[in-house]
Amino acid sequence: MSVLPFDFAEAHHLPKRRLPEQALADPYELPRQRRGITPQMHGRYPDYDVLEQQEHWDEVTRRLVLARVTDVPPIRWFETAELETLTVFADLYLAQDSEPRIPVMAFVDEKLFKGELDGYRYFDMPDDGETWRIVARGLDEEARRRGAERFPLLGVDDQLDVVRRFANGELHGGAWNTLNVSRAWSVVTRHVLEQFYSHPWAWNEIGFGGPAYPRGYSRFGSPHLEGAERETWEGKEAYGVDPVVDTQERGLE
């Protein structure tokens, strides 16, 4: 069976649905973003830019969300070397392998600098800020074991292997002996994902409607009603699009 690259009615692109010998789907075969920005400019909703909806958002929310794009916070918590190591790590974790990238570590830095906690700490872990510093030290130590001075200087295959071992809780010795490695993975990935998926560029990529007050939703979907799952302003997914209708709708004729 031949599979169209963008047939999202099927689930062949999902990692758990791929055959063991099959590589993950290449995101660079997805449509390039035509409106707005997505991380690495690929996504499923090429003509959807959530930021175009900002006039429909309440003022408090608008200021908060737009600041994530326009006012990237300065680095105040991490040392320069720590930040370099952790940025490489975070971008590998998030598969941010080209520009434009969401500067997640700047937002993590802001959270830690402001002392914003998440409300719990495992009994066998230091506080979250200290956990991040130990992870930076541990990644650099692991790089030295593999013959590079620091983690950012390691080859990308080795870097990915270190991240894989971190994910599996398989890093030992030095800094890693001062905390619970699996829980450290949990702390840092939780922080990174919170920052990445609160950024409107990521919302563009996944087709999330974004802030919804005061407008709300009147079309919230029924599989029995064609098109009823989507407001007119919400992004269309890039599949099954008839090119003739599409060009007409977008006024490209």
């Binding site: 999902l14 994902l193 996944i206 919804a212 007050y213 029995h224």
Partner: protein, 562 residues
């Protein structure tokens, strides 16, 4: 009030002894009567100091204020103005959560904060999903029926009228309810979104009945509270004033009747008179960092399952060296969470689960014990609709990262999620103790250890299989599972005797005659229902007992007789 039949719905029915919906404004979300709020002097004893402005504390205060009690509520967090303070954004909702350090441990440590702990006026209900099912009659006699856990010293029938009163005040919307004690709701069911209708279809194919609701979200105009706009940010604080929290359902009326709320005030100790053993008031640190004391004839602690035990344990004295109510080492024990595993499912078409309230349809078909399942008690089923950060945690839970993570995230609009609430057992070693770590006030923080027992694991495993089966029958193309826990109750168990509980059936701490606990911490068992409605209901009942002076007056100070 009895609700019979389903023809009287919506705006025709309004609560009689609570004007809150009319004291709000149609266009501004903030409370409109704050300029009329009472200010009591700290030099004079008030009738009651309440610690914690949440579901328990505000409800009890509103009821007693109407009987003429002079009441001060101390609340650690801010006094919210939803227009100014709340946002239509996941990350921006962080200020709603209790995020101060707490230490977690045990075999199955429970993550706190965002998941289950609120701060600020309105408490955790400001960011709860809105599900307000009733407990079943069986929940109050678990020991007798199933030989596990505990019986409550009160029954469902002691609370039935409280349930009805609170359901009218929130108001609760949903279909006629066939489980437990069958009942109707004051507001009709909300329309359901595509994401929930898929779960409905799968459940029907498995022979599982579901119902729409019950949610405490207006479905129609309710006083000056508007209709829900289905924006999907229930867990981030309702900017519409459509979803209930005591901030809007009970506090406006409480303020009108003389309740003072002191926001940004952290209670540090309940003070005791050594000679009589009675509570004299509450010491606290105010918003300027100054140590204060509010004398009172009675004290009600309503700080929920972590902070209530912590405050009692921190309130040591010569007479009570191990803390208040703790002579039998029961304060902080039997803290419970519900097993809240979620299974997400993928479908060929877009579902966009971020729309409409996350709670939509639910089932209590598995609520009661069924011996053929091999464990005691049961679980409820509900739909939820995680927003992107929460969705990322579903993907992360199965270990995906890098391109695999991004692939599942990009697929967001094709997914929908089922959740369960499994009734887990109260265990003595699942407890809050004081840590060596201190907070910004110099007080020892809570140390919360938690481990599952065998019955818990069987329940969760069975419930997970039911979700898997529903999705299979619905035609899901892929699933993702996350093991998690929801809600917090217990820690100051209500009991038949001082050896059996921290408080008696009228919420009075056995050892301290004028000290009460009115929140979820008094629950001896947790049922498989969300706790918010029951917290309000037990507080409503307590207020009835105090106001009707059915709690022995001799034990309550003279000035309470008004």
């Amino acid at each position: 009030m009895r609700l019979r039949g389903s023809f009287v719905k919506g705006a025709l029915l309004m609560p009689k002894d609570n004007d809150s919906p009319f004291l709000l404004d149609r266009h501004e979300r903030s409370l409109q009567n704050l300029d009329r709020m009472a200010r009591y002097r700290r030099s004079e004893a008030v009738d009651l100091v309440v610690v914690g402005a949440g579901a328990g504390g505000i409800t009890v205060a509103q009821r007693l204020a109407r009987k003429g009690w002079r009441i001060v509520i101390l609340e650690k967090g801010p006094f919210w103005d939803p227009d100014r303070d709340w946002v239509s954004d996941e990350k921006g909702a962080q200020p709603l959560y209790w995020t101060d350090t707490r230490i977690i441990g045990g075999n199955d440590p429970i993550e706190l904060g965002k998941n289950n702990s609120g701060v600020g006026v309105g408490g955790s209900m400001t960011h709860f999903a809105g599900y307000t099912p009733r407990f079943h009659p069986s929940d109050f006699e678990v020991r007798t029926r199933d030989g596990v856990a505990f019986d409550w010293p009160i029954s469902y029938w002691d609370l039935k009228e409280s349930f009805e009163r609170i359901e009218l005040e929130l108001p609760v919307a949903g279909q006629d309810w066939p489980w437990g004690d069958p009942h109707s709701y004051p507001h009709g069911p909300h329309p359901i979104a595509g994401a929930a209708s898929v779960a409905w279809r799968g459940a029907r194919a498995c022979g599982i009945e579901m119902r729409v609701g019950p949610v405490s979200i207006t479905n129609g105009v309710f006083g000056n509270r508007p209709h829900c706009i289905y924006r999907g940010f229930c867990l981030q604080g309702c900017k519409v004033n459509a979803k209930a929290s005591p901030l809007i359902t009970h506090l406006p009326d409480a303020i009108e009747h003389g309740v003072e709320v002191r926001a940004n005030c952290m209670a540090t100790r309940v003070e005791i008179e050594e000679s009589s053993g009675r509570a004299t008031g509450v010491a606290y640190v105010d918003g300027e960092g100054l140590e204060r004391f509010q004398p009172a004839d009675a004290v009600a602690v309503c700080g929920y399952a972590i902070e209530t035990p912590r405050l009692l344990l921190n309130s040591t004295s010569r007479r009570f060296p191990s803390g208040l109510g703790n002579a039998n080492d029961l304060v902080g024990r039997y803290v419970m969470v519900q097993g809240a595993t979620q299974v997400a499912a993928r479908f060929p078409y877009e579902l966009r689960m971020y729309k409409a309230p996350p709670p939509e349809v639910s089932s209590e078909q598995f609520y009661e014990t069924d011996e053929s399942r091999g464990f005691a008690r049961g679980f409820s089923l509900q739909t939820v609709g995680p927003l992107p950060i929460d969705w990322a945690n579903h993907v992360r839970a199965e270990g995906h990262w890098g391109q695999a993570l991004r692939e599942y995230m990009r697929d967001y609009n094709h997914w929908t999620v089922l959740a369960v609430l499994c009734e887990l057992m109260p265990l003595a070693e699942n407890r809050v103790t004081l840590s060596a770590v201190t907070d910004g006030y110099g007080l020892p923080v809570a140390n919360f250890t938690y481990s599952l027992c065998d019955n818990d694991k069987k329940n969760i495993a069975y419930a997970t299989r039911v979700m898997d089966e529903i999705w299979e029958r619905a035609g899901a193309q892929d699933t993702l599972k996350i093991d998690r826990y929801a809600h917090l109750v217990g820690g100051c168990k209500m009991g038949f005797s001082p050896e059996d509980g921290v408080v008696d059936s009228s919420h009075r701490v056995w050892e301290v005659p004028n000290l009460f606990v009115a929140d979820g911490s008094v629950f001896p068992t947790e049922g498989a229902a969300n706790p918010a409605l029951l917290i309000m209901a037990v507080s409503d009942r307590l207020a009835g007992l105090l106001a009707d002076k059915r709690v022995s007056r001799k034990e309550v100070s003279p000035s309470l007789r008004r």
